[in-house]
């Protein structure tokens, strides 16, 4: 499957070349909110006012792609939680008005498939339409769905594939009491080396156009794998098996993109993974730019496409990328429970 185009809205300025050019935003708080482009030219004001943040940024990231690529055959979205702010606003009304007369706007906007539905509506796309909500693997499942849809399809078949996750005070609170965020404030550029429990919270929407057509593609997505509830002693075997299935060895990987989020309880998984590669293997992080959220691997994939194109000469916290990589392995895990490998290759 080829990644033909990408648009990312994130806590960095990714909707222009600012991030690519090395201008990184430093935040001194534990909630990294997205920097949004102006939507006024693409979304009618009346519609925009009613949109929750998740739907808004999802549409904001998707519409430029939909304009550049006509006749898409469908829309596949991954989001763990969809429009949570609308969801809990509606919930608050239920409780505070004691199940009184409520307006349906929040309810309709809160369903996780509202984005894929709204995108279909705005682009008059009656094609394939699925929303995956599988927690920390929601975007990985969306990728797999798109890959299966394209297997056996013509080169002209193309899908919009993407992810969205929003921060609201509510989901921040829920994850906070679940022990997932740091209790002290840290700068995001010190996230990886923070050595404390929990991470910082991010959000974002990244959208791709995918097809079987290699022409002018940004990158080839070779394959992906999900792993759940593994033992640490199995990780090496699982990695080698995955690489073997794709005719690759550890030495074929030029660069690792690692999902370290500064949570001292779980970052040892990344150290473990790195130990299976040569000690000279180059690696970069990405959650120092965008924080932790369930579908952050969509940002990692955007990051990979830019690295493969040589558009970013990233100076990571520990290492640089010395040459333009040809094959990247993205490794992300959530609380040691859910893990994913994504293999991406440059297109000559």
């Amino acid at each position: 499957m080829y990644l033909k185009d990408v648009y990312s809205i994130s806590p960095q300025v990714t909707h222009t070349d600012e991030f690519i050019n090395g201008n990184y935003k430093i935040y001194s708080k534990n909630i990294l909110s997205v920097i949004e482009p102006s939507y006024s030219e693409m979304i009618p004001a009346s519609l925009l006012r009613r949109m929750g943040k998740a739907v808004r940024m999802g549409i904001g990231a998707a519409l430029p792609l939909i304009e550049r690529h006509e006749k898409l055959n469908g829309i596949v979205i991954g989001t763990a939680n969809g429009g949570l702010e609308n969801c809990i606003n509606f919930l608050n009304q239920i409780i505070e008005y004691d199940e009184g007369v409520l307006t349906p706007t929040h309810f309709v906007q809160s369903t996780p498939n509202a984005l894929a539905g709204q995108l279909a509506l705005m682009s008059k796309n009656t094609g394939y339409n699925v929303t995956h909500v599988n927690g920390p693997l929601a975007f990985e499942n969306a990728i797999l769905d798109a890959m299966m849809f394209l297997e056996g399809a013509t080169n002209k078949t193309a899908l919009l594939l993407g992810a969205v996750e929003e921060i609201s005070n509510y989901n921040y609170n829920i994850d906070l009491i679940a022990g997932r965020y740091k209790s002290d404030y840290i700068d995001n550029n010190k996230l990886i080396t923070s050595q404390t429990k929990g991470s910082i919270c991010g959000e974002g929407s990244t959208m791709f156009i995918v097809s079987n057509d290699a022409n002018n593609a940004l990158a080839k997505l070779i394959n992906l794998k999900q792993i759940n509830y593994p033992n640490e002693i199995d990780l090496e075997y699982l990695l080698n098996q995955f690489l073997f299935e794709n005719d690759l060895k550890t030495e074929d990987i030029d660069l690792l993109i690692l999902g370290n989020n500064g949570d001292v309880q779980f970052d040892s998984w990344y150290t473990l993974l790195k130990s299976f590669f040569s000690s000279k293997k180059e690696y970069v992080y990405y959650k120092n730019f965008v924080g932790e959220y369930r579908t952050s691997s969509a940002f990692a994939l955007y990051f990979a496409t830019q690295l493969l194109k040589g558009r970013i000469h990233h100076k990571g916290i520990e290492g640089d990328v010395s040459s333009i990589p040809k094959i990247i392995l993205i490794y992300n895990q959530f609380e040691g429970i859910h893990h994913s490998f994504i293999l991406v290759q440059s297109v000559v």
């Binding site: 763990a80 009656t126 829920i174």
Partner: protein
């Protein structure tokens, strides 16, 4: 491409806690929609619901998870149906651990079924509840995955009311593309203040048991439940009893409105046509349709038009939501199981409470129990966000 067979089924809803109990209820025309016993809400007294007749505690006990205080009602409903399905298919715990065994579930309300606890936790009103780590839509999927150590691909879908129909579709794709040998597919939802108030705010809840396809219908009745099917490849199912074959599926979007279906039924027509195309049969070979049939003014009128557009002679159809209420994410898999019960027993069950049918077309839902030889059946699921899915099953006996 591998054929996809159904080798196990499990279901729990207001009309039964096993597939056999569902069959008995369908045969005897027993409706599960009534005043709620366990659901706590202002609406519990003046609306009717298809409530599963067990408390959360009873459901936990029935499923041997009494100690799991963080298991939500959605999770234990799912567990109940999951267990029945894997036992019927003879899937051992060892086989569940195989990386060729996948699990695709779905839910709309998911772990948000405890609205008051979620309110408290999200607004930091009190000490964290038992459910602080249980609210996500995928929570029930991961609890079951962890319990059974499922080794293959795991996914959770939310396409509103067509969610578990898409779980079936995606499970079949995993088998067809060789990524899994067997997949447990389905969905679960429980009655919650969240959905009751949501549908009420849209003014599409009926004050009495829903009357799908009746001229005087005035909305849907919310139900709850869970339903799972075990799909297996031809090779994996070789020496097993095959309940039915999944022949075709179609997924489309109506691209019309966030919460209603287009008057000209674009999405429903397309999903049915795609399913027929994939099955490779002409419409006249469909012997029965389990309609989406929610009982809302909008759905039933549009679906009637869609049926009359796709089929020159509309085959017998009913809405089994007239028995179970609308079980949301569970509806697609529950109704697929009910359609397969019709198929394998050569029986058509009455669509309840349709006294004066919609008269825009000649077609009428099934009005009495009849025996009829059935070979191909279709199940329709349409949801908010324009998500439409149709599935076609055929007999293996």
């Amino acid at each position: 491409m591998q054929k996809v067979f159904i080798t196990g089924m499990g279901a729990i809803s207001s009309i039964g806690s096993t597939v056999d109990e569902h069959l008995n209820s369908l045969r005897s025309g027993k409706c599960g929609i009534q005043t709620a016993k366990y659901f706590q809400s202002k609406y519990a007294q003046n609306l009717v619901f298809g409530e599963v007749p067990f408390s959360d505690e009873q459901l936990r006990q029935r499923n041997n998870v009494a100690s799991k205080k963080d298991f939500t009602r959605t999770t234990v409903l799912a567990l109940n149906a999951f267990n029945e399905a894997i036992i019927q298919a003879g899937i051992s715990l060892e086989v569940l651990k195989s990386d060729k065994t996948a699990f695709i579930s779905s839910s709309t309300v998911g772990g948000m079924c405890y609205t008051d606890e979620l309110y408290s936790d999200a607004n930091l009103k009190d000490i964290p509840s038992n459910y602080a780590r249980s609210y996500e839509g995928s929570d029930h999927t991961w609890r079951i995955t962890e319990m059974f150590e499922i080794g293959g691909i795991v996914d959770t879908i939310n396409t509103a009311c067509s969610s578990s129909a898409n779980a079936i579709y995606l499970g079949a794709r995993l088998i067809q593309t060789g990524r899994a040998d067997r997949v447990v597919v389905g969905g679960a939802d429980s009655i919650a203040k969240y959905t009751v108030n949501g549908f009420n705010s849209l003014m599409i809840l009926s004050d009495q048991a829903c009357r799908p396809f009746d001229e005087n219908r005035n909305g849907l009745s919310l139900g709850e439940g869970a339903a799972y099917l075990v799909l297996e490849s031809e090779d994996a199912a070789r020496n097993k009893f095959k309940i039915a074959e999944l022949n075709g599926f179609g997924n489309s979007n109506d691209a019309f409105h966030p919460s209603t279906i287009s008057e000209n039924a674009i999405g429903p027509i397309l999903s049915m046509e795609l399913a027929l195309q994939m099955t490779g049969i002409t419409p006249d070979l469909i012997d029965y349709i389990n309609a989406h049939g929610t009982g809302t003014l909008n759905n039933d009128l549009t679906e009637t038009l869609a049926l009359n557009t796709v089929f020159e002679n509309v085959p017998p159809y009913n809405s089994t939501k007239s028995y179970t209420g609308h079980t949301l994410a569970a509806a697609g898999s529950l109704e697929s199981i009910l359609a397969i019960l019709s198929l394998n027993n050569d029986e058509l069950y009455q669509s309840l409470r349709c006294e004066s049918p919609i008269n825009t077309h000649q077609s009428r839902p099934i009005f009495e129990f009849v025996k009829k030889n059935l070979n191909y059946v279709m199940s329709n699921s349409f949801g908010f966000g324009g998500n439409c899915t149709s599935l076609i099953f055929s007999k293996c006996i």
